[in-house]
Amino acid sequence: MRRALTRGLGPRGQAGQALVEFALVVPILLVFSFAIVEIAQLGVARLALQHAASEGARAGALTNDDAAIHSSVALAASPLDAGRIDVEIEPTASEAPRTSDPRGSLLAVRLRYAMPLRLGFMVLPTLTISGSAARRVEWTP
């Protein structure tokens, strides 16, 4: 068919053939370009989340205050959207030893982030990544 087009239409047919080839290749190139960008952003997000978890755990170790932990996480998680970060603190503020004298115990902060994907329409709408850190509590009542 390509030969027939080429013979029949000459240079104009070849231009059409090039256009078809280009149209075939461009989607593949675009998908891979987006995939590379997504993977790079995924790495940035994971690093940011790990950093935010460390900062949150450090704030919790110094203050034993959930609000301070959330605030530290939100500040340190840039460039991520802090509103999409799910913060889990262990032990919770209502559990021992945080209710009495937690100094010397470990406080863990676990973060989950639902990362929206540009290629989400193809496979997954979001990808959940996580980060965690723990610190020895230095706070005394």
Binding site: T6, V25, I36, H51, A53, S54
Partner: protein, 149 residues
């Protein structure tokens, strides 16, 4: 755009076997693009794995050295509370063991289950705690009112 720059075009216009030469160009371009993309993806993932491992090591090392320093600070404070003393009690085996255990617990809680050996020295108004984890050195200074030099 791709077709415009192909040198085979002239031969094809001349009526020779140009059309056959052009077959597969899109395939070659696609294969090149896939190879470049695969290389980029593999490289990115490897770099990310290294960075994330480094970040995890750093978090564990900081947690471990802070935990050890906290134990040494508690010991120095307890010694100081018992009466003025120039010795903060850093060489006490019980304190050393407690600092080591605290450091290992903190490192383990951060996903690094490796032996750590914190060392504490007394400087001018500070207790200097140092340890190595995953080939990196971590330090923490605790200011104290005892132990002037």
């Amino acid at each position: 755009m791709i077709g415009v720059q192909r040198p085979e075009r002239r031969r094809a216009q001349g009526g020779s076997a140009g059309a056959d030469d052009e077959q597969g160009q899109a395939l070659i371009i696609a294969v090149f693009a896939l190879a470049i993309a695969a290389t980029a993806v593999i490289g990115l993932r490897a770099a990310q794995a290294r960075l994330l491992t480094g970040a995890g090591d750093e978090s564990a090392g900081e947690a471990a050295v802070e935990a050890a320093a906290s134990v040494y600070a508690d010991a120095a404070f307890a010694r100081h509370r018992g009466g003025p003393s120039r010795d903060p009690g850093l060489a006490d085996p019980a304190v050393v063991d407690a600092a080591r255990a605290a450091a290992m617990d903190a490192a383990r809680a951060n996903g690094r289950d490796a032996p750590v050996e914190p060392h504490a020295t007394v400087g001018a108004g500070v207790i200097d705690v140092e340890l190595r984890l995953a080939g990196r050195r971590y330090r923490a200074d605790v200011p104290v009112t005892c132990c002037p030099r």
